[in-house]
């Protein structure tokens, strides 16, 4: 029996949704353009299979899409809420932050909001400032929310299923440019939320990253290996709850931590991980993210917002050299 088959990042998500919708009639999809498969093909064929009652085309009304998702969840459904890109989810922010995230708590556990809000994240090539943000840290800051950033085909299948089964409001952040990513998919693989994956073992430095930035980091690991530096690359996968145990165990072995993400470095989630590791282990830590600039349109401007392989390598080497000397 062939367990593993080739699939795309978007196809893996479609398959995950298909299986969850078959298994659980409470799962419905709502959002703009979902009936035609979604703009990234991430709902392809689902309306044909499950009908317009369960794969619901909506107006361009992000607040109502997200808020209706909350109402549906409270009334017994398990909605998948499509926000198109995370940048547009900002139009439904009250509904995510004040309603979905806090409902269970502020009503004393009377209700639950089992809802998966898909908010594709990250720099979308040549799409400029309003379509290129990486906002996982915003949502990670909010009690009540789970935040997932799948970086592989398998994870986009397994984590979407886990998100739908979790019973929590989940901010599910696929990357805007990973849809065509090809990889092996084993439908029997389960990945629990909150569990990181070690993508490459190494003994000199722990490198934590997620989503598309993993690809840059993997190349950087190769380059560093050629220089004799063995890096352990960890895919965090879930931003909240984040896998402290895996990260701390790895750091305890390697003695050095670098966190790299596509999101802006200042107040990014890498700072949280680096601070935690520094507090717990007292080892040298670094974080690397984008500069605090909006993403520009022209290639040269956009490139400034990205974290490059060279920057990752340089940061890794700097981390191994210890703290920067202060010049006064």
């Amino acid at each position: 029996m062939v367990l593993s088959q080739p699939a795309s990042y978007s196809g893996a998500a479609v398959r995950a949704l298909e299986l969850e919708m078959q298994a659980d009639p409470r799962v419905v999809v709502l959002g703009e353009d979902v009936g035609r498969g979604g703009i990234f093909g991430q709902y392809k064929g689902l309306q044909q299979q499950f009908g317009a009652q369960r794969v619901i085309d909506t107006p361009i009304s992000e607040a109502a899409i997200m808020g209706a998702g909350v109402g549906m969840a409270l009334a017994g459904l398990r909605p998948v809420v499509e926000m198109r890109v995370v940048d547009f989810a900002l139009c439904g922010m009250d509904e995510v932050i004040n309603q979905a995230a806090k409902n269970r708590y502020m009503f004393g556990g009377q209700g639950r909001v089992p809802l998966v809000a898909r908010m594709p994240n990250g720099i979308w090539d040549a799409s400029a400032a309003q379509h290129s943000q990486s906002l996982e840290a915003w949502f990670a800051h909010m009690p009540g929310l789970v935040v997932v950033c799948p970086g592989s085909v398998q994870d986009n299948y397994s984590l979407l299923r886990a998100a739908l089964q979790s019973g929590d409001p989940v901010v599910y952040m696929e990357h805007k440019t990973l849809w065509g990513l090809q990889g092996a998919l084993d439908e029997s693989v389960q990945v629990p939320l909150g569990q990181a994956a070690c993508l490459r073992p190494g003994s000199n430095l722990t490198l934590v990253s997620w989503s598309r930035q993993l690809q840059v980091c993997a190349s950087a690991c190769e380059q560093l290996a050629a220089q004799g530096v063995e890096v352990e690359l960890i895919d965090l996968r879930t931003i909240w709850p984040w896998d402290r145990e895996t990260v701390l165990n790895s750091c305890a072995r390697t003695g050095h931590l670098l966190v790299v993400h596509e999101a802006i470095q200042a107040a990014g989630f890498g700072a949280e991980i680096a601070a935690t590791v520094a507090e717990e282990l007292g080892i040298p830590v670094r974080r690397l993210g984008g500069p605090r600039i909006p993403v520009g349109y022209a290639p040269v401007l956009e490139a400034q917002a990205r974290v490059s392989q060279e920057q990752v390598v340089a940061a890794a080497l700097a981390c191994l050299q210890g703290p920067r000397a202060r010049t006064t």
Binding site: V28, P59, S61, A64, G67, L77, Y105, G108, Q110
Partner: protein
């Protein structure tokens, strides 16, 4: 309806209003000094802390509407939600417990007045954000339709909410999907401390609703028998599959925005006039016109006062939530990870 039926119905409606009034009057007193606002400072002595939004003067709207609701009908509310919660059938004593912040409250002290709720009777919560209940109501009604349930959702909101985007988004959504939802605009004429009429372009809730193809009906929101009659018609239409309706109830907020707000920004004449149109006074007069005896209603008031006194004593005696409760009911994934 014959005279006895009319009197019976009016007595029931009056009882609902009387309990809301007694509840809020009592809470108002014990909330003084409970929040720093309007040039006053919280002094720590109040039993009910934080902003307490009273619906005094608006009782006829929830009473008249909710009399038509069944247990599996759902309801979303506003920050001014005590009346909706009581009218939907929530236990008064547990509501008072929540206002006191006690473990005996519906939310175990996690919500207070602004998040008063009793999900067990379909009351999906007051909401601290203006217009936030509208999309939730629409989603709940959408679920009811998909589930093939005969139930409906009622969505209360104020006149201030019609200037927020979710109002438009939600009414549009309800109409295109023909959802079983009754939108009830409680037009109390004040948006916090600002007169709404200066802030609303056009003719307001009814006109905006009609422009989206949702039939809107206006009613004197201080005459409970009128609200009851009209809401009954609209709810019957919705239950028959007619899609959404909007009830625009014109009423008046007799108190300030919150209980410590003296509302000095209002014309005293306006308030004086409004006090004479108090829905409880009107209901009493109507009851007498129908041949009823005021003593019947006085007995209801007395019972409500006694019930509230008992609820306050119980809330006072109830334990506070434990500190550990601050860490429960947040999320399942990552439960226990606070840092």
């Amino acid at each position: 309806m014959n005279r006895d039926d009319s009197l019976n119905t009016l007595r029931q409606l009056y009882r609902c209003m009387s309990r809301i009034r007694a509840f809020e009057d009592a809470a108002e007193i014990v909330s003084q000094g409970g929040v720093s606002a309007y040039s006053k400072t919280a002094d720590g002595s109040a039993k009910v802390r934080g902003p307490l939004h009273l619906s005094t003067g608006q009782e006829a709207v929830p009473a008249g509407v909710c009399a038509h609701l069944k247990a599996d009908d759902l309801l979303t509310s506003t920050h001014r939600g005590h009346g909706h919660t009581l009218a939907k059938g929530a236990d008064l004593a547990r509501m008072m417990g929540e206002l006191y912040g006690k473990a005996s409250g519906f939310n175990g002290g996690k919500g207070g007045s602004m998040h008063i709720a009793d999900f067990s009777v379909g009351m999906l919560g007051a909401n601290g954000v203006v217009a936030a209940g509208l999309p939730i109501a629409v989603g709940a009604a959408h679920a009811q339709k998909l589930q093939g349930k005969p139930a409906i959702t009622v969505c209360f909101f104020g006149d201030g909410a019609i200037n927020r985007g979710p109002f438009l988004e939600s009414l549009n959504w309800a109409r295109i999907h023909q959802l079983p939802v009754l939108f009830v605009c409680e037009d109390n004429r004040w948006s916090a401390t600002t007169a709404s009429r200066a802030m609303i372009a056009g003719e307001g809730a009814s006109a905006r609703s009609a422009s989206l193809g949702i039939a809107a009906s206006q009613v004197n929101g201080n005459e409970v028998w009128q609200v009851h009659a009209l809401a009954g018609e609209l709810i019957a239409q919705i239950r028959a599959g007619g899609g959404p309706r909007l009830l625009h109830a014109i009423t008046y907020r007799l108190k300030g925005h919150v209980s410590v707000d003296p509302a000095a920004y209002r014309d005293p004449q306006e308030v004086l006039q409004a006090q004479q149109l108090d829905p409880l006074l009107k209901a009493r007069a109507h009851y007498q016109q129908l041949g009823g005896l005021l003593a019947d209603l006085q007995a209801i008031d007395d019972a409500a006062a006694a019930e509230v006194a008992q609820a306050m004593a119980a809330a006072d005696a109830a334990p506070w939530p434990t500190a550990a409760a601050a860490y429960t009911d947040i999320q399942s994934s990552g439960d226990g990870q606070w840092f």
